[in-house]
C-alpha cells in the first residue's frame, strides 16, 4: 500500500481517470484530467499547483550544520546567507553524482536539505566528528509548488510578506491564514514559481486558501505529467531518468560527473575540502568525455518519416522516459534519456548524453524514433539548455 500525502483528501477527488503514480513510496497524481494539456498550460499561462510532498526532506541543525553540508556538496554552503537556497548535487569520493536537491538556510544554524532519494545514512557518514543534529522531516513537512506567471499575484493576496522583494532562490518565513509557512522562490518548471513548506498537520487549509484565492487567476492543480514537460523545456535533469545515483549504479558507465549532467556551474573547486574534490579536479584537467545537452528534432524530417507510412506525425501528450540512441554520420554518439513535445515551443525536444566532440550546440545529429513499428532516424540538432527560459523566472 502506497502512502498518501497530506493533501490526499483534496487531490484524490480531482483525479478523474485514476491516473496515479508512485513517487518515493507515495501515491501522487500523474494528472487530474485524463490528459495533461490544461495542467501544463497553467504552468506557462496562469498558475499550476503541484503536491510535491514526497520529496525527501532533512532538517540539519547545530553549530557544525554548515560545515557538514559544505563537506558533502559541491557548492559553497559557507557562503549561503540566511534565507538563501542553493541547488546542488553531491558526489562520492570519485566525484560521481549521488543525488541532487536544494539546501535552504532557515536560520544561522539550521538548514533544510531536499533530495530525490533517502540520504540519512550518507548524511551521518559525513557528520563524523561534527556537532550536528539530523532529522528526517519528510513526513512531517508537506510541500506545494505553485508555478506560473500568476503565482506571485495569488500568493501575495495570502501572505503579509512582500513577495516583490523575494529574489530567485531566496525564502521567507511567513503565514497563510495564520498557519506558519515557509515560501521559497524555487521550483522545477523553469518559470516564475514558489514552493511552500508547511507542517503536515496544517497543510490542507493552505491548499484550500490557495485554491479559493487562485480561482480568479486560473489556478489549476497539476500532476507529474505536466511537471515533466515543463522540466524538460527548462532543461532540468532528473535522477533515475536522466542519470543514476553513484550509490545505485552497477557499472562505472552508469555514473556521471556533475559536468557530464550539465551541472558544471554548481561545482566550486576553490572552496574548502568536500567529497569528490580531488577526483573532480583531476577530471577537469582532462577532456570532458560526455555532456548533457538539448536535442531538437527536425519537424520536417519527422513529417517525412510518417508520411512514408501514410500518416501524419504522431506526437505524445506526455513526456517519454526511454533511452533513444543518437547518431552522427551513422555512428552512435550518445543517447537521449527523456523528451517531449513542447506545446509552447511547438518543437519536439529531448535531453541527451552525447560524447565528445559531438555535443557543441548546432551539431547536426540523428535520433532514433519508432514510426509505425519501425525504427527510423530523424534529423535533429544539438541545442544549449534550457530550451525555454522566460525573464519572469528571475525578475
Amino acid at each position: 500500500m502506497l502512502k498518501t500525502t497530506p493533501f490526499h483528501e483534496r487531490t484524490a477527488p480531482l483525479v478523474r481517470a485514476q491516473t496515479w503514480r508512485r513517487w518515493a513510496g507515495f501515491q501522487v497524481a500523474s494528472a487530474y484530467d485524463p490528459h495533461p494539456e490544461r495542467e501544463y498550460a497553467a504552468v506557462r499561462n496562469a498558475a499550476a499547483l503541484f503536491d510535491v510532498s514526497p520529496l525527501y526532506k532533512y532538517r540539519i541543525g547545530g553549530p557544525d550544520a554548515a560545515r557538514l553540508l559544505d563537506r558533502m556538496v559541491t557548492r559553497d554552503v559557507t557562503r549561503c546567507a540566511v534565507g538563501q537556497v542553493l541547488y546542488t548535487p553531491w558526489c562520492d569520493a570519485d566525484g560521481k553524482v549521488i543525488d541532487d536537491g536544494t539546501i535552504s538556510r532557515l536560520d544561522e544554524r539550521t538548514f533544510r536539505l531536499t533530495s530525490a532519494e533517502p540520504n540519512v545514512r550518507w548524511l551521518w557518514m559525513n557528520a563524523v566528528g561534527l556537532d550536528v543534529t539530523i532529522d528526517e522531516i519528510s513526513a512531517r513537512t508537506a510541500a506545494l509548488a505553485l508555478q506560473g506567471p500568476l503565482s506571485r499575484t495569488i500568493l501575495q493576496h495570502l501572505t503579509p510578506a512582500d513577495l516583490s522583494q523575494l529574489r530567485y532562490f531566496r525564502l521567507v518565513h511567513t503565514a497563510i491564514r495564520d498557519i506558519p509557512v515557509t515560501i521559497s522562490r524555487t521550483g522545477y518548471t523553469g518559470d516564475l514559481g514558489y514552493e511552500l513548506w508547511v507542517d503536515a498537520e496544517r497543510a490542507v487549509p493552505v491548499w484550500d486558501a490557495l485554491m479559493a484565492c487562485g480561482s480568479g487567476y486560473g489556478i489549476t492543480p497539476a500532476g507529474i505529467w505536466a511537471l515533466d514537460i515543463a522540466r524538460i523545456e527548462a532543461g532540468l535533469v532528473m535522477l533515475d531518468v536522466d542519470y543514476y545515483s553513484a550509490h545505485h549504479a552497477l557499472i562505472e558507465d552508469q555514473k556521471s560527473f556533475p559536468d557530464e549532467i550539465n551541472l558544471a556551474w554548481t561545482v566550486n573547486l576553490d572552496k574548502g575540502p568536500h567529497n569528490g574534490r580531488r577526483a573532480l579536479r583531476r577530471a577537469r584537467a582532462g577532456r570532458q568525455a560526455w555532456s548533457f545537452v538539448g536535442i531538437e528534432v527536425d519537424w520536417e524530417s519527422m513529417e517525412r518519416l510518417y508520411a512514408a507510412r501514410g500518416l501524419p506525425p504522431h506526437l505524445p501528450n506526455v513526456a517519454w522516459r526511454t533511452s533513444a540512441p543518437v547518431y552522427r554520420n551513422g555512428e552512435q554518439i550518445g543517447y537521449a534519456t527523456s523528451g517531449c513535445w513542447s506545446p509552447l515551443l511547438k518543437r519536439s525536444l529531448a535531453l541527451a548524453h552525447l560524447k565528445a566532440p559531438h555535443f557543441a550546440a548546432g551539431t547536426p545529429v540523428q535520433i532514433e524514433v519508432t514510426v509505425e513499428h519501425r525504427r527510423e532516424r530523424a534529423d535533429a540538432v544539438v541545442r544549449a539548455l534550457p530550451f525555454y527560459d522566460p525573464a519572469r523566472k528571475r525578475a
Binding site: R16, D33, R38, W299, P312, L315, K346
Partner: protein, 536 residues
C-alpha cells in the same frame, strides 16, 4: 515623400500581410508594412474596450495557423502561446446538453447517452474525415495551378495534383467528391440520427458563408474543421494567450526581428502605377512610399478596385472581381461580464453539476445549435434580408482560459453570431444594430437566465461595422466566401490565383487568395515564396 527606399511595401497589417513581410524580410528584403489602423492585426486584434476587459474583437480562436510558419518565424519566441480550448457543449431545448470532450471515451459515452449508434458512427466518421483532410491538406500548401493554362509550371502543378488524387484510391476520391458537392445536412444524415449532433457538426460548415446547412456545397467546409485536428498533433488549435491580437503582435515582432518596418496609422490610398509597373503607394496624408514591389493584404475588391485604377486591369479580371462574392453573413457580440453566466444545462436540481465533467464545460466552446431546423430557419431570415431572430452562436469565455483577459472574478464573453446579412433590408442603422444585439441576448437568456444582470458592457458588431473598422468588404470574415466557386485556382479570379496581378510588381497576399480563411497565414506565406521566386 519618404527618403527610405524599400524592396517591398505591404499594404495592410493583417496577419497575412505580416506573414508576407516576415518571410520577405527573412530573405533579406527591406520591407515596410503600412497599416491604416493604430494597431496591427486586421481582424485578429485584441482591444481593451472597457478598462481591464480585453476583447478579441473579431476573430477569436486560432485553428489552422500553419505549423511551418510557427517554426520558420519562431513565433513562440515572439509571444505565440496557444492554450487548449478542449470541449464543445450544445445546450438542448429540453434542458439537457450534448458535449464533445477532449477524451475519446468520455465523448463516446456522452454521445451514446443520446444515441448509441451515433457514438459508434462518430469514430468512423472521424476516420473518414481524417482521410479526407489528409487528401486536401497538400493542396493547402500548394500554389494553385491553372487548369486552363499550358505553362510548364501549371502543367507540373496539375500533374502533381492528378497524381495526388490518384494516390487516394477510388473510394476516397469518390467520398471527397461527395463532400465537395453535398450539403452538410445531407452528408451528415448519411451518418447520424441525433439531430443536435448533426446541427452542431453542420454549424462548422456554415461559418462565414452565406449558406445554410441544407445548401449544397456546405459539406466541404466541414472538412476545414477536421484539418485543424490533423494538425491537432501539432496543437495549433485553441485560444491565443492575450487574444488573437497577440498572434498578430507575435508575427509583427518576428517581422521586425528580421528587419521589417511596421508602420501604423499609415492609410494607403492608392498604388502608384507607371508604365504597367507598380512603383509605390500614396498615403491619404499625401506621403508617398516607393518600392518595386507592392503587396496587397487587403481583400480582392480593395486590391483590384480601390487601390488601383481599373484601366490597369483586363476587363475579364474586373468582371470576375465584381462577381466575387463577399456577402458578410456573421456578426460578433462581445460582452464584459461581472460574473460567470449560469447556464441551466450545467446544474442538477440541487445546484450541483449534472456531471462532474461539466465543471470545465465553460472553458470550451458553447454552441447554440439545438437542431438542423433551427440553423436552417436562422438562414431563412437572412435569405430574405433579416438578421436571424434565433441565431446560431459560437460562444467562448476567454477569461476562463487566460485569466489576463479580465480582472479577477470578472469575465469576457465572445459570441460569434450567424446570420447577420450585410445586405440588411433597409440597411444597418444604430437601432438595427441594437435590435440585433438584443436578439443575441434574448437567445442566450433562454440558456443562461442571469446573463442580462451580469453584463457590464456590450459591444455589437454587424457586418457593416466589421467592414467599417477592418476594411473587410461587406464584412466577410474570410475576405470573400469560402464557397467552392471561389476556391483554389478560382480564388480570387481565374488566371490570377497565383498571388500575381496583371500589374507587374503588384502582388496579393490576403485571405482572398488560396487557401484563405481563418488565422492560417498560408496565403501570406505562399505569396511571399512566390515573390521571392519570381523576383520582381
Amino acid at each position: 515623400m519618404t527618403a527610405a527606399r524599400y524592396d517591398a511595401i505591404i499594404v495592410g497589417g493583417g496577419h497575412n500581410g505580416l506573414v508576407t513581410a516576415a518571410y520577405l524580410a527573412r530573405a533579406g528584403r527591406k520591407v515596410v508594412v503600412l497599416e491604416r489602423r493604430p494597431l496591427v492585426g486586421g481582424a485578429a486584434v485584441t482591444e481593451e474596450v472597457v478598462p481591464g476587459f480585453k476583447f478579441s474583437v473579431f476573430s477569436y480562436v486560432v485553428s489552422l495557423l500553419r505549423p511551418e510558419i510557427i517554426r520558420d518565424l519562431d513565433l513562440p519566441a515572439h509571444g505565440l502561446q496557444i492554450l487548449p480550448l478542449e470541449s464543445t457543449v450544445t445546450p438542448l431545448d429540453n434542458g439537457d446538453y450534448l458535449a464533445g470532450w477532449p477524451d475519446a471515451d468520455e465523448t463516446r459515452r456522452e454521445i451514446a447517452r443520446h444515441s448509441p449508434r451515433d457514438a459508434e458512427a462518430a469514430s468512423q466518421f472521424g476516420r473518414l474525415m481524417h482521410h479526407m483532410a489528409m487528401a486536401v491538406k497538400p493542396i493547402l500548401g500548394m500554389v494553385p495551378p491553372d487548369p486552363a493554362s499550358l505553362a510548364p509550371s501549371d502543367l507540373r502543378g496539375l500533374l502533381k495534383l492528378g497524381g495526388h488524387f490518384r494516390s487516394l484510391g477510388a473510394e476516397r476520391f469518390h467520398a471527397l467528391f461527395k463532400l465537395m458537392t453535398m450539403s452538410s445536412a445531407d452528408y451528415l444524415d448519411e451518418w447520424y440520427e441525433f439531430d443536435p449532433l448533426k446541427a452542431t457538426k453542420s454549424a462548422s460548415g456554415i461559418i462565414g458563408t452565406f449558406l445554410g446547412p441544407r445548401s449544397p456545397g456546405s459539406a466541404y467546409v466541414l472538412l476545414h474543421h477536421y484539418m485543424g485536428e490533423i494538425d491537432g498533433a501539432f496543437r495549433a488549435w485553441g485560444f491565443q494567450k492575450g487574444g488573437t491580437g497577440a498572434i498578430s503582435e507575435s508575427i509583427a515582432s518576428a517581422a521586425r526581428a528580421f528587419g521589417a518596418e511596421v508602420r501604423t496609422n499609415a492609410d494607403v490610398e492608392r498604388v502608384i502605377v507607371r508604365d504597367g509597373h507598380a512603383t509605390g503607394v500614396a498615403l491619404a496624408n499625401g506621403d508617398e512610399v516607393s518600392a518595386p514591389i507592392v503587396v496587397s493584404g487587403l481583400d480582392p475588391r480593395r486590391t483590384f478596385v480601390d487601390l488601383i485604377e481599373p484601366k490597369h486591369l483586363p476587363d475579364a479580371l474586373v468582371e470576375a472581381i465584381r462577381n466575387f462574392r463577399f456577402r458578410g453573413s456573421s456578426g460578433k457580440v462581445n460582452l464584459a461580464l461581472d460574473a460567470l453566466p449560469e447556464f441551466t444545462f450545467l446544474r442538477d436540481g440541487g445546484r450541483g453539476y449534472r456531471s462532474p465533467l461539466l465543471a470545465n464545460a465553460l472553458r470550451g466552446a458553447i454552441s447554440i445549435s439545438p437542431s438542423v431546423d433551427y440553423l436552417e430557419r436562422a438562414y431563412d431570415d437572412a435569405k430574405y434580408g433579416e438578421f436571424s431572430r434565433n441565431p446560431y452562436m459560437d460562444i467562448v469565455i476567454p477569461s476562463l482560459i487566460d485569466p489576463g483577459m479580465a480582472p479577477p472574478g470578472k469575465h469576457v464573453m465572445s459570441i460569434f453570431v450567424q446570420y447577420a446579412p450585410y445586405q440588411l433590408n433597409g440597411g444597418w442603422t444604430d437601432a438595427k444594430r441594437e435590435a440585433f444585439g438584443d436578439a443575441v441576448i434574448d437567445t442566450l437568456e433562454r440558456y443562461a437566465p442571469n446573463i442580462r444582470s451580469i453584463i457590464r458592457h456590450r459591444q455589437v458588431l454587424t457586418p457593416a461595422d466589421i467592414e467599417r473598422i477592418t476594411g473587410l468588404s461587406e464584412g466577410n470574415i474570410f475576405q470573400g466566401e469560402l464557397a467552392l466557386h471561389q476556391l483554389f485556382f478560382l480564388r480570387p479570379a481565374p488566371a490570377w490565383a497565383k498571388y500575381r496581378t496583371p500589374v507587374r510588381g503588384y502582388w496579393q497576399c490576403g485571405a482572398g487568395t488560396h487557401p484563405g480563411g481563418g488565422i492560417m497565414g498560408a496565403s501570406g506565406r505562399l505569396a511571399a515564396l512566390e515573390i521571392l521566386r519570381g523576383g520582381r
